[in-house]
Symmetry: C2
Subunit: 215 residues, 2 copies
């Protein structure tokens, strides 16, 4: 065809590429990085293992491609402050088990503990997506501290419910879960910060940590 060159086509091999990616995501999500083999991915995608190498170079690059993640952070600037925590919690649950759910978060969380690429990406997501999201309407100087607290509760929930699958945490229905968690997040977002502890209080805390009885 006139004007139809090879460089025009939008990658005819795209379906194969997507099949590999989807198989890789499922494997990485439920088996972690190390136990996932290129052979198994290829078998799932019904292709030859060498094709995976051809498309993605090596296992690490395949993982990097499979672990893309978007929080789909909602814009909270129009949300009344007293509702922000609730929206945040429900948005997060929706990311895991609602219509926005895919295996991306599962991949990151399960692999971040044994793969440095995943851990680094987790920190990047925290810095680029979580902190800006939480910052809406609060003092930027406090945003990092508050974001960290929010992350500790949110990721802990994800860990217990979706990865470790602790029966006690799995048993709660999502509505009840949101009702429990939202006030925690609200406090982390809005509660005035405690004053910087005095030297004496810090000492008392260290003493406790080291098993010394209080006076």
């Amino acid at each position: 065809m006139v004007g139809m060159t090879n460089t025009d086509r939008p990658r005819r091999c795209e379906p194969t590429r997507q099949a590999i990616l989807q198989a890789a995501r499922e494997r990485f999500a439920c088996e972690g990085y190390d136990r996932t083999t290129i052979r198994a991915i290829a078998a799932d995608a019904n292709i030859d293992p060498s094709m995976v190498m051809r498309y993605f170079g090596n296992k690490e690059q395949l993982f990097a491609a499979a672990a893309k993640f978007d929080l789909h952070a909602p814009d909270l600037s129009e949300t009344p402050p007293e509702e922000r925590a609730d929206r945040l919690v429900r948005h997060f649950i929706r990311l895991w088990e609602g219509d926005l759910a895919d295996s991306s978060l599962q991949i990151l969380l399960r692999c971040a503990l044994t793969n440095e690429t995943a851990a680094e990406r987790m920190r990047l997501i925290f810095a680029e997506q979580v902190i800006p999201l939480v910052t809406t309407g609060i003092d930027p100087d406090e945003a990092v501290e508050r974001s960290g607290l929010v992350a500790s509760q949110m990721l802990g929930l994800a860990l217990c419910r979706y990865v470790l699958r602790l029966p006690a945490v799995v048993a709660l229905d999502s509505e009840r879960l949101a009702t429990w968690i939202a006030p925690t997040i609200r406090r982390y977002l809005t509660e005035p910060r405690a004053p910087i502890p005095s030297a004496r209080e810090i000492q008392a805390g260290n003493d406790f940590l080291n098993g010394k009885p209080a006076n």
Copy 2:
């Protein structure tokens, strides 16, 4: 010697055994199960890899021996109810970074995501040590639900601070951390449970999860 038989001695090989165990603990704690090799453990312990096999049979049994864990759960029955959450949080922080700290918790948390033995042990610890601990002074019917919530915050904190090492969570000193987290735990322990959601509320929750706008 008279009366001195072979069966009397308390295992002369105990030092070697302990050296292997300590090396294994460090490796499992910071590299996870799969990436830890028996060869590396043996090198750390300055012995031959085959000795590891001789002492512990195989890698899985070595892991089981290295992942023993005791929460050292305090007795809260004498503690006034309003102080229990605070004691719980401080005890937990002490387990990670105080005088009670060792690598046991780090091993469990890092390996539980990719090794079924570790995951199962985590659930066992939750059932045998966390739930009884939290049950002190609260309705046993509610203990499981409340324990799950407590675990979600405690393990989330551990995940972000000690394993993922999110800078925002690492930056907080332990006293300040306890001040932030304790009220959350107190609420999970004592706040009256929400009523069972009505069918309409559950429907509204599901709609939200699936992206339908509220009316």
